[in-house]
């Protein structure tokens, strides 16, 4: 049994792509030219504080945008756009194993080519599909559950999602509101998608963003909130009450920032 190797990187997509690039380099150096003796013992850790284990080699990875770009292009070229979207989806999930799973998937993928997407019997393949499906499901729900407030003509939306959905929902809102200035702020990750009228939307993260200021602005009132609440209450049919069904369809943690569930 080969010793476990752990590559430690920051949790961003660029960081993980760099680690994947270095992971392949290590595999090819140590386990035969094409990695034929490799037995899935390279792991990628995305947490900054981890517990060290015995008989394990730890390697720190510095995020390198050039390496990250190379990984991305080779995934798109060799496995196609569909597989690339699966990988991005899986990496936006919050699971601590996501990077390891993607690495395992790519090891198989680069060996077999595009057919890898049909090897659903394989643990790594089905796992990244599952992760990506979960992320996309959450992103899909937030496309509906996100609420904007119109404050002085700009639309502010605050969410606290479990998965990192901002990269996945930005395009949707870009298409929907090309003629509006809008900001979607992720409270948990302290990052935001910002869109200026008729321009390309961008992601701004932690250091360049005044999150507290955004949250205080979001406290302001919006005239249409009350109107929407009235409509929401009017649509409820009491004879059909079924809160269990409602909880299944919109679990309570989604409701934190939705006007119809907030009492004023």
């Amino acid at each position: 049994m080969d010793n476990k190797i752990v590559l430690v990187c920051d949790g961003t997509i660029d960081g993980i792509f760099t680690a994947i690039f270095d992971g392949f380099v290590i595999r090819n150096q140590r386990y035969g030219k094409k990695g034929e003796h490799y037995r899935d013992n390279i792991h990628i850790c995305t947490e900054p504080d981890y517990n060290e284990e015995l008989f394990t080699e730890y390697i720190c990875i510095e995020t390198d945008y050039e390496k990250s770009f190379k990984t991305a292009t080779s995934i798109r070229k060799k496995l196609g756009e569909e597989a690339y979207m699966f990988v991005i989806g899986a990496l936006c999930h919050y699971s601590p194993d996501r990077a390891t799973m993607v690495f395992g998937f790519l090891v198989r993928g680069f060996k077999t080519g595009k057919k890898v997407l049909q090897m659903l019997g394989d643990r790594y393949v089905i796992c990244i599909m599952e992760l990506s499906r979960k992320t996309n499901n959450e992103a899909h729900l937030f496309k509906g559950f996100l609420r904007f407030k119109d404050i002085d003509g700009t639309l502010y939306g605050v969410i606290s999602p479990k998965c990192d959905v901002i990269p996945l929902i930005g395009d949707h809102f870009d298409e929907r509101y090309p003629n509006e200035n809008w900001i979607i702020y992720d409270k948990k990750r302290k990052k935001a998608a910002i869109h200026k009228k008729y321009e390309q939307w961008i992601i701004v993260s932690d250091n360049n963003l005044n999150g507290e200021y955004l949250e205080t602005i979001y406290e302001k009132a919006d005239d249409y909130s009350q109107m929407w609440r009235t409509f929401y209450e009017a649509l409820y049919i009491k004879e059909r009450k079924n809160e269990k069904c409602q909880n299944n369809l919109i679990p309570k943690w989604y409701r934190k920032n939705m006007v119809e569930f907030l009492k004023e």
């Binding site: 659903l120 509906g144 559950f145 119109d150 509101y177 649509l235 059909r240 919109i250």
Partner: protein, 530 residues
């Protein structure tokens, strides 16, 4: 005046026949005078919020709130887009989704349908929007991402044509003046002119006309101002319009299948399944069901054939006519049709009118009308649920209505769902081998759905599958394990016997109910060791 109102209250049809012998438009005008009188007492200056409350409340019994069926990218200039999967924006405490701003233009109505809260004989607060109010509400709600678009229906004001003109004016404004590019679902009003319906169709994504009740007789009894003909004629016209428009613009918004794109394979698979069913000795049942289905269709078609649709839409290039298709709705439990009758009507609608969806709405006696069944113990939600399950089987699983129910067994099983019910009655076809069975045969197995069947077919080319693999693909093993083998083996040592499987299936779903029912249940006692 009081006399007239009284007359209308008890039975509008009588009042009309004893009144002036005018043309139909005279009748509508008369009825409107009556309404205006009533309205004057109640209507004052009411705020938009109050109108929203009244007209949202009045619209809530309409089931459809879907925003699906059409993919439209934003145009980069104005607001709005649509996704073919649809997006739910919130859910009410009754578990129904709110996706569209579902409102009536007005709840003043000259019709007197017995089941409807807005019938002309009811004394409820009435209100009417102006077109601009509706547009502004839609735009402002849409900007805040509250809604996916507008669901626009209306009570009948003055006459069907007058009402549709108002709907058209509003939607035209919304599209052309407010530049709204989102989803719009409009109701076609039975009895409106086909030219108006066509114009409305070019501005909307989906249109619907409610069937209301499964048979013509019930309709006559409960909705005296509507007839099968006035409902089916516009439905046929919209269908023709959609078809012609597809010829003009090509198939649009059609979803691509997940893995199987070879339609000839699906055809083969379907035939193979039918052969198997016949071979296993269920052939006569199948044939009987086909005959019934044909008679139901011909009955439905008869209504429109005696009165050929006048319009023949040709369409214009790049102007889409009802791109998300049309839907309809039936009330369940207000009259005494059986489930068997209802799903046969649905099937005929799917086959002959190319409907996207048929919605079912469990009847609620909102008017406390004593001539209708009481719903004091709550509406028949389980029955509605079973009908929806069966509806899915018709649309995606290749079932025929006659396979699910028969004339001797006209209601769905309360304990297990229609697919399990079918499977335990056709054990001759099981067990099915996961690594060999064709697509439609896999779909017949309880616990296997469209997605998992497609995943199984795609991945078994690469390796032999066993129970763990198919579990990961999304097969619900607690239902499927009685009906399948993987590489020749069943998962546990289960018996292929009707009572045994039924019992276990019920126990899986509702252990509590099984315990409560105790000895009343006729199935044999469960034992973990048999």
């Amino acid at each position: 005046m009081a006399d007239i109102i009284k007359g209308y209250d008890s039975d509008m049809a009588n009042a009309v026949s004893t009144g002036s012998e005018g043309t139909s438009s005279d009748i509508y005008a008369d009825a409107h005078t009556d309404r205006r009188f009533k309205g004057a007492v109640l209507a004052g200056d009411i705020s938009v919020e109050e109108k929203l409350r009244i007209l949202g409340d009045a619209a809530k019994y309409d089931v459809a709130c879907t925003s699906s069926g059409v993919d439209r990218k934003g145009n980069g200039k104005s607001m709005g887009s649509a996704q073919s999967c649809g997006i739910c924006h919130t859910f009410t405490p009754d578990g129904r989704c709110i996706s569209l701003l579902k409102i009536l233009f007005t709840n003043e109505c000259i019709f007197d349908c017995k089941y409807c809260i807005n019938r002309s004989s009811n004394d409820v607060p009435r209100a009417t929007f102006t077109p601009d109010e509706v547009c502004r509400l839609t735009i402002e709600f849409y900007r805040r991402n509250y809604i996916e678009g507008l669901f626009f229906s209306s009570g009948i004001l003055k006459s069907p044509n007058y009402t549709v003109e108002l709907l058209y004016e509003t939607i035209y404004k919304l599209r052309r003046e407010y530049h709204f590019n989102g989803y719009i679902h409009a109701k076609a009003i039975p009895g409106a002119d086909s030219v108006l319906i066509e114009q409305l169709g070019y501005l909307t994504d989906r249109m619907s006309i409610n069937m209301e009740l499964p048979t013509g007789e019930s309709l006559k009894k409960l909705a005296p101002h509507k007839s099968r003909k006035s409902i089916l004629t516009p439905m046929k016209e919209i269908q023709i319009g959609i078809k012609n428009n597809r010829y003009m613009n090509g198939v649009y918004g059609k979803k691509t299948p997940l893995y199987i794109s070879d339609s000839s394979y699906l055809e083969d698979s379907r035939n193979m399944l039918m052969d198997n069913i016949t071979k296993a000795g269920y052939g006569t049942e199948l044939k009987k069901s086909q005959i019934v289905a044909e008679s139901e269709s011909s009955e439905l078609m008869h209504e429109t054939e005696t009165n050929k649709p006048v319009s023949n839409y040709v369409g214009t290039k790049n102007r889409y006519f009802v791109p998300a298709g049309q839907s309809t709705q039936m009330i369940i439990g207000a009259t005494d049709e059986t489930d068997y009758h209802i799903i046969n009507v649905s099937e005929a609608l799917y086959d002959n009118y190319d409907l996207k969806r048929v919605f079912y709405s469990a009847f609620i006696n909102v008017n406390n009308d004593t001539s209708l069944p009481s719903t004091e113990n709550g509406p028949e939600l389980l029955r509605e649920h079973r009908l929806y399950q069966a509806d899915w089987l018709l649309r995606y699983y290749g079932f025929k209505a006659g396979e699910l129910l028969t004339e001797d067994r006209p209601y769905f099983n309360k304990e297990i769902d229609p697919k399990c019910d079918w499977a335990v009655r056709h054990l001759g076809l099981f067990p099915v081998e996961i690594n060999k069975a064709d697509y439609y045969t896999l779909l017949r197995v309880p616990g296997i759905g469209v997605k998992s069947a497609r995943r199984i077919i795609a991945s078994r080319r690469h390796s032999k599958l066993d129970f763990n693999d198919i579990k990961r693909m999304g097969v619900v093993l607690k239902r499927a394990l009685y009906f399948i083998t993987c590489q020749g083996k069943m998962m546990y040592d289960t018996k292929l016997e009707e009572n045994y499987i039924t019992h276990h299936l019920i126990y899986n779903e509702r252990p509590d109910r099984m315990m409560a029912a105790g000895e009343q249940i006729t199935y044999t006692q469960m034992s973990l060791f048999d």
